[in-house]
Every structure is written in C-alpha cells, then in structure tokens.
C-alpha cells in the first residue's frame, strides 16, 4: 500500500525571506507603479493623429533617402567624426595625469583629493548640460562639442584608469623601486606596462561613446550629425531622418566590432 504524501514542494521566495517584508515591499512597488501610471496625462486624440506620422517614420526607416539632403548629412558626419577623434585624443591626454593623480598608491593625499574632485565634477554633469554651457560661452558649432566631449572623457577615463592603477601588482612596482628608480621611472617601467592594454581598450571604448554622444549634443547647438538629424525631424522629413539613424547605427556597429578586435589583439 502506498500512501500519498500530502506535502507538495514549493519554491522558496527569491529575494526577501520574511513574508511580511515581502508583502510590504512588493505592495509598495505596485502602489507606486499605479500612482505613476495614473499621473501620466495622455492626449489620445493627439496620439491617434500621430500614428500616421509614426507609420511614415517606419516607412522612411525602411526606405531611407540618402540623396536629397546628402550635403547636409555629409557635413554633419564630417563634423561628428572629427569632433570624436580630436576630443578623444585630447581627453585621453588630459585624463592620464589626472588618472595617475587619482590613484592612491601613486599620489599624495592633496593631489589625490584634487584629482578625485575633478573626476566627480566631470561625471556628475551630463554631456548635454555641459554642452549647453559651452555653447553659451564659445558660440554654436563643433568647437563647443569638442570641448564638451573632451570634458566628459576626462571623468570616464581618469576614473577607470585610477581604479586600474590601484589594482596593479604592487610587487612589480616594488621591484622597480628596489633598483633605485625615480618616481618617473617607477611610473614608466613599473606601472605603465601593467595598465597600457586596458588604457588602449578604454580609449577605444570611449571613442565609440564619444561618437554616439556627438550625435546628441548637436540638438543643443554643439555641431555634428545631431544638428542635421534635429533639422530633418523638425521638417518631418522622416526618410532623411531614417537615413541618418541608419548611418549612425552602421558606424557604431563598425566601431564596436573594430574596437573589440583591437582589444583582443592588444591583450
């Protein structure tokens, strides 16, 4: 005779073990989502009339028009690409000393504090906000965009470089120091060979990001393909806009593929 066991296995709760807390937290989340959705005001008539335009955008994306605005598009692209290259180079050159200064194992405390403050400032402000300020100061055009992207590169690269320097193998540095090397020689022979592959990888990654951002900061007047895109959308020329978006996607794909190949080759 077999007796069927009345017990059935139940999956244990995933995150929060205590039942009361679980109900409270999940219930709170659901209440917040309901309140958030209720506070969205949607003009359904406007959405409905816009659907036709949305359909035209899909069509424009599938049948992009590269030719009729080609001179604008190519000028925007040239601005974006040159802006990307120059800002990445300048950003990397500036962020190397700041990154070294922000590594606790190489820099004394006052230098460390100053460099960390610069990094925090650059990371806290978004590209768009910096672009607004730089456009107001330096006038419209790619020069303001170049400054924006260089500034944003500093925060990104210096932070990751500093963390990388702090993680290096201290024994190699010790060995170089034991030969009586000066501070500069220490950085050149003990630190630089250890962080160089990652620095190259990060620079290439930042190049990729800078191109993507260069497509955005044009919206506030900082030059590049973003300005062209903004104009195309304002004129409801969705086929030109589709062409620009496809070009951006293609360049990002090429950049991503290329940079991953180079990174594999470097490491």
């Amino acid at each position: 005779m077999t007796t069927t066991t009345p017990r059935v296995w139940r999956r244990p709760p995933i995150l929060i073990q205590d039942k009361r807390w679980r109900i409270a937290i999940y219930g709170g989340l659901v209440l917040y989502l309901i309140a958030a959705m209720a506070s969205i005001e949607v003009d359904w008539v406007r959405v409905y009339t816009g659907l036709e335009r949305g359909w035209r955008f899909v069509q424009g994306f599938l049948q992009p028009d590269f030719t009729s605005r080609w001179s604008d598009i190519s000028q925007g692209l040239v601005e974006s690409l040159t802006m990307t290259v120059t800002s990445t180079v300048v950003g990397v050159i500036i962020s190397i000393p700041i990154g070294i200064g922000a590594a606790r194992n190489l820099a004394p405390l006052p230098v460390y504090a100053v460099c960390r403050a610069i990094i925090a400032l650059s990371r806290a402000l978004q590209e768009i906000i910096i672009a607004i300020l730089f456009v107001a100061m330096f006038g419209f055009g790619p020069f303001a965009g170049f400054l924006t992207l260089s500034f944003a590169t500093i925060g990104f690269l210096a932070k990751l470089l500093a963390e990388d320097i702090e993680d290096i193998d201290a024994r190699q540095v010790e060995a170089v120091r034991a030969t009586g090397a000066s501070w500069w020689q220490l950085v050149n022979y003990g630190v630089q060979p250890q962080v160089m592959p990652r620095l190259i990888g990060l620079s290439l990654y930042r190049l990729d990001i800078n191109f993507r951002e260069s497509a955005v900061i044009g919206i506030v007047g900082a030059g590049g393909i973003g300005a062209t895109l903004n104009t195309a959308i304002d004129r409801y020329e969705f086929d030109s806009a589709g062409a620009i978006l496809l070009i951006i996607i293609a360049i990002v794909m090429v950049a991503e593929y290329g940079s991953s190949t180079v990174r594999k080759w470097v490491q």
Binding site: V78, R212, I233, D234
Partner: protein, 271 residues
C-alpha cells in the same frame, strides 16, 4: 632581450630598434590624424567667439549666482514626472528586453541562423541611438508629454538590458540545465527552474543599474519636449533666467547623486 652595444659594452634596452620604429610610426599616424581632424573641425570656427569665452563665462557665472531657491516649489511636480519617466521606462524596457535576451543567447535561441542575428540587430540599434534622439522622434510622432519620454527611455533600455542579460544567460552552468531536463521537464520548465534562478541576481543588478542611468537621462529629456524637469530647464534657458537654471542644475545633481546611492545600496544588498 634587446641589447644595444655602446662603446663596445652591451647595454639593456626596452625594445628592439624595429619595435621602437613601428611604435614611433604608429604615434606619427595618430598625430597626423589628429592634426587633420583638428583642421577640418575648426575650419568654420569663429575664433573671436572662442577668445571671448572667458568673458562670457564670467558673465554667465555672475548671472547664475545666487540660485533662485524659491523656484524649487515649481520643480517638485516635474521632478515626480522625471522619476516616473525613468521607472516606467525601465519597466517597459525590461518587459521587451527579457524575451529578446533569451532569443539572443546562444544556448536558448530557437535558431542561430535567423532569430539570433535579428535579436542582436535590435540590441545594437537600441544601444546606438541615444534616448534624447528617440525622444525627439517620439515627440514629433505622438506629441510632447511624459508618454513620449517613457517610450524613449524604454526603447533605449532594451539594448542595454538585453545585452547584459544575454551575456549572463550564456555564462550559466549547463549542468543544472541538464539536471532539470533529465527529470523530464519541458522547455518552458527548463527555463523557469534551471536558467531563471541562475540569472536572477544578475538581472536585478542590471535592472537597478539601468534605472540609475535612466534617472540621469530622463532629467534632460524635457529639452526636446518629452516631459519632466528638462521642460523647466528649456523654458528657463529660453528666457535666459540663469538663476533658475542654476537651481535646476542643483536639483538634477542632487537627484542623480541620490539615485546613484540608492542603486549602489540595492545592488550591494542583492549581490
């Protein structure tokens, strides 16, 4: 080991002559590219404006301070909208991204030849277009407002969440999948009992991380009319009300710092 002979005595060198020459040539190419790009970029730059910049900066700086603290009353409602855009956008993005991640992961995709490339293309397309551009498009399609912002944030989040999630799915322990499958579980049950529990911590980490980024991005979506605190920023910039602009910057900065702190705490608690 590269050794040079100087005055008849061997001396250690860092690199061979050939290596140094190659590296030198690489640097030369980089410098040439930089100079070329610099010249193309600054062809239309009006240097008078650039030289004038310090004076402009001082002028704007003097107008920006002190911030207009009383303006914060008008910022609370837009701030609530901004939070909603970020949260609902993240939820929308996750809902779309999860199936795409399963279609893109090499070990769960139904077909590596057709479905996987399509899923990967969706991921790249979503990742390469910034949420501000999505917002620009959506505002012109469905009109200005919070809804355009939510959808823009959602579309942008798909690529990020799906990419990190499919990488996590590809890294799971296959032995657990094998064990569950050997009990006679169906495909859906294998996903439910063998794959999901393994990727769940990574998933929550990714979701909170993306929410944090989305808060950052949703503060500026209003610049193109997609709701939130950016609308106030645009309005203040248009009338050159710099004290209000400073106040908005302060609020944005505080929001970003708080959301970063929250996301770090939550991720720390989960992982």
């Amino acid at each position: 080991m590269p050794v040079a002979t100087i005055d008849g005595a061997p001396v250690w060198r860092h690199r061979t002559s050939r290596q140094s020459l190659l590296i030198w040539f690489g640097w030369l190419c980089l410098v040439a590219l930089f100079v070329f790009c610099w010249q193309v970029m600054t062809r239309d730059t009006i240097w008078a404006f650039v030289e004038d910049a310090p004076r402009q900066a001082a002028d704007i700086g003097s107008r920006m301070f002190p911030p207009r603290w009383s303006y914060i009353e008008r910022l609370l409602l837009p701030l609530w909208d901004t939070l909603n855009i970020a949260t609902l956008g993240t939820v929308l993005g996750i809902i779309i991204a999860v199936p795409i991640a399963f279609l893109a992961a090499r070990n769960t995709t139904p077909s590596t030849l057709i479905v996987r490339p399509i899923a990967l293309f969706i991921i790249v397309a979503s990742r390469s277009i910034n949420s501000l551009i999505w917002a620009l498009l959506l505002v012109s399609i469905i009109g200005p407002g919070v809804l355009a912002g939510v959808i823009a944030i959602g579309l942008r989040s798909i690529g990020f969440v799906a990419k990190l999630l499919y990488e996590a799915i590809e890294e799971i322990d296959e032995k657990q999948v094998e064990a569950v499958r050997s009990t006679g579980a169906s495909g859906a049950q294998v996903i439910d009992y063998a794959i999901v529990p393994q990727v769940l911590p990574a998933f929550f980490g990714i979701a909170v991380f993306r929410w944090d980024i989305n808060i950052r991005e949703s503060t500026i979506l209003g610049l193109v009319g997609a709701g939130g605190i950016g609308l106030q920023l645009q309005a203040s910039l248009n009338v050159l009300a710099w004290p209000q602009v400073t106040m908005i910057f302060v609020v944005i900065l505080a929001t970003v710092v708080i959301s970063e702190w929250v996301s770090a705490k939550v991720r720390h608690a989960i992982i």
